[in-house]
Symmetry: C2
Subunit: 341 residues, 2 copies
C-alpha cells in the first residue's frame, strides 16, 4: 500500500468514526427528547390559574406553622426549601411523636405528577394542601371552621385572600387555602443542565453523564421514569421481580396504593416518583429505607428490571441523575414574613 | 387692646408654643438618645471576628436539621426567619413531644445581650450554639464525637469549615460549630424607623409613637429596657410588686436564674428581654403565657412599676413598640442550600 493510500484509509476511517459517534450522540439526544420532552416554566392548571397574589399568599401559608392547633405544623416542616422540598428524614415525625408511614416526597415539580403522595390518594397539589388543612392528624383541627378561624385570627391574611381571590364574598376558606398553596407549588419547577442538553447543547452534560443517560434509557428505567419530570406519570408495583423488602431495609411491607383503591392489583403499587433533584433528597423509596443513591439505583434495576448493574453502570446512572439537580426559583428561596395580627 | 397689639400677642404666644413643643420634642429625642444609643450594623466580637465564610457556613448549620440524631432538630426549628427569629409558640415542643419550659427567644439582635436564654445560662451566642450541639436534649447525640461525625457525614461541610477557619488542622469541631453559627447570628441586626428617629429624623415616628416613647421613658420602662437593643443588658426579678403569676396566665412559677446561680436573690429573676421586634414575636414572657402585646405592657407596668396604665397609655406604648419592628437583613431571608454528601 502506498503511503498516500494509507493516509486516505485512515482519514476515511476517522470520518466514519466521527459520523458514527455523532450519530450515536444524536440518537441519545433524539431518544431523550422523545422520552422526556421540555420542562415547562411553571405547571399550569385550568382550575387554578397562577397569579402573583396567589403565589405570595400560598408561600406564606406554606410557611405558617402557627395556624395549626398546636402552632407547630405547616407544609414547611416536611418540605424545606433548603432540603430541596423534602426533609432528609426516613419518614417524618407526626403528631404525638409517632413516625409517619411514608417518606416526605419533594414538593418541587410535584404539581406535574398524575397525583400526590406515594399512593396517589390526592389528585392535585390543591387537593393535597386542602386535605392537609382539613386532616386532624396534620393541622390538628377537628373541624374546618376551626382551621379557618385560626387563619383569620391573623387578620393580615384577610386582605391577602381578598386580593388573591377577587370578587369572592368570603375568600378565606379551605378551597382557597388549597388554591393559594397549589399556585405556589406550581411555580416550584427546577430546570437543570439536563434541560440545556435536551435543548440541543450537547456540552451541557459530561461524557459520563451522557453515558449514564444512555444506560438509563437502554436498561429500561425510562419506561417508568419519563416525561419532563422523569417520573410521576404512572403507578407501578414496587418489586416486579421479587418482594421489594428482600433488597431494601424496610421495616415492614407497605401495601401501597391498595390502601386507596382496595383493588388486589394495587398491592405494593406506588406512584413512580419524579427523579428531578433525586440526588438532593435522600433517603430513598416510599419508606426512606435506603440512604445512598447508588444503592437505590442498583436495587431498582434488580427489583423492577431483573438486572444486576455493575458498579460502573450504577455510577454512570448516578452521574446522570445528579445532572437533574436543578435551579430552585429565586422567589422560592426568599423567606416570607408572616402577618402577626 | 388695639388690634395690632392683639395680633402681636397671638404671634408671640404661637412662637412660644412652637418653641415649647420643639423643646419637648428635643427633650424626648435627647432622652431617647441617652437611653438607647445607636444600633450597630453587626454585633462584633473580639473572640469571633465576623467573616463572610463563617456567616455562610453558620447559616447552613443553623438550618440543618439532618445533623441531629433523629435528623429532626436544628436552630431553625425554634427560630424561624419568617417569625422574626422566634417560633410563635407558648413554649417549643422538645424531644419525646414534651413541651420545653421556656418560650423561644428571638435570635434577632440576641448577640447584643449580656447573656443568652431567659436565665442567662449561656454567655455568648457562640457558647449557646455550641452548648446546643453538645446537649443530648437538643441535637440528641450522647457524645460530641457523634455530633461531629454527623456533620462530617455530609462531606461538603469539610471544605466550608476549612475556608471559614483557615489554617486549622481539623476545623470541624464543636468550638467552630458555635463560632460559625455565632457569626451568622451576629449579623441578625434589625434597624427600624426608631433608629431613623434616633438619628434625628423626627418624622420617622408618628406623633402617637413619639407619645408612646415618651410614656415608655417617663413611666420607667427604660430603666430595664435600654441600650440600642431596648433590653438584654441586665437581669431583673419578674414581679417586683407582686408574684408575677397573679397577673400572667402561667401554669406554675419558674424560679428563673436561681436554677443557674443557686443564689436566693435570683429566684424569679430573668434576663430582661430585647424589645426590638417584640410586636412580631408573640406570645410573651418567659413562659409565653400572655398572647397580646397590649396586655403584656399593662402587666409589666403593674408588676414591675406598680403602675396601672390607662388603655390610651398602653396603646401609645404599643404604637412605640411596633416602631421597633425592623428590617431583617436580606441575606438572612435567603434560604441556604445544604450539602448532601
Amino acid at each position: 500500500m502506498k503511503r498516500s493510500a494509507f493516509v486516505l484509509t485512515v482519514c476515511i476511517a476517522a470520518v466514519c468514526l466521527f459520523v458514527l459517534v455523532r450519530a450515536q450522540e444524536n440518537t441519545v439526544l433524539t431518544q431523550a427528547k422523545s422520552l422526556f420532552g421540555p420542562l415547562p416554566k411553571v405547571i399550569e392548571s385550568k382550575d387554578n390559574p397562577i397569579t402573583l397574589e396567589k403565589v405570595e399568599l400560598g408561600k406564606m401559608l406554606f410557611y405558617d406553622t402557627r395556624i395549626a392547633s398546636d402552632k407547630n405544623f405547616g407544609c414547611i416542616k416536611c418540605h424545606w426549601m433548603n432540603l430541596y422540598g423534602a426533609d432528609g428524614m426516613k419518614t417524618p415525625i407526626g403528631r404525638d411523636c409517632k413516625p409517619e408511614k411514608r417518606n416526605s416526597p419533594t414538593v418541587f415539580n410535584a404539581a406535574g405528577e398524575i397525583a400526590e403522595h406515594w399512593t396517589g390518594n390526592r389528585v392535585t397539589v390543591e387537593e393535597q394542601a386542602k386535605g392537609g388543612m382539613q386532616a386532624p392528624q396534620a393541622y390538628g383541627w377537628k373541624t374546618e371552621a376551626e382551621a379557618i378561624n385560626a387563619i383569620k385570627s391573623y387578620s393580615g391574611y384577610i386582605p391577602l385572600f381578598q386580593k388573591a381571590f377577587p370578587g369572592e364574598k368570603d375568600p378565606v376558606n379551605a378551597e382557597n387555602f388549597g388554591k393559594a398553596i397549589g399556585a405556589f407549588e406550581r411555580t416550584l419547577v427546577t430546570p437543570s443542565r439536563f434541560d440545556d442538553f435536551l435543548n440541543g447543547n450537547q456540552k451541557a452534560l459530561t461524557q459520563n453523564e451522557q453515558t449514564g443517560l444512555k444506560t438509563f434509557m437502554e436498561l429500561g428505567c425510562a419506561g417508568c421514569h419519563n416525561s419532563p419530570f422523569i417520573g410521576g406519570q404512572m403507578y407501578q408495583k414496587f418489586g416486579l421481580t421479587q418482594p421489594y423488602w428482600n433488597l431494601t431495609h424496610s421495616a415492614e411491607p407497605d401495601s401501597g396504593r391498595y390502601a386507596v383503591t382496595k383493588n388486589a392489583g394495587d398491592i405494593y403499587v406506588f406512584k413512580v416518583p419524579v427523579l428531578r433533584n433525586v440526588a438532593m433528597t435522600a433517603p430513598y423509596f416510599h419508606d426512606g429505607s435506603v440512604d445512598h443513591l447508588q444503592d437505590a439505583v442498583k436495587i431498582m434495576a434488580q427489583l423492577q428490571l431483573g438486572k444486576t448493574l455493575t458498579d460502573a453502570q450504577a455510577s454512570d446512572i448516578v452521574a446522570f441523575l445528579k445532572s437533574l439537580t436543578g435551579q430552585i426559583p429565586e422567589e422560592a428561596l426568599k423567606v416570607p414574613i408572616l402577618p402577626v395580627e
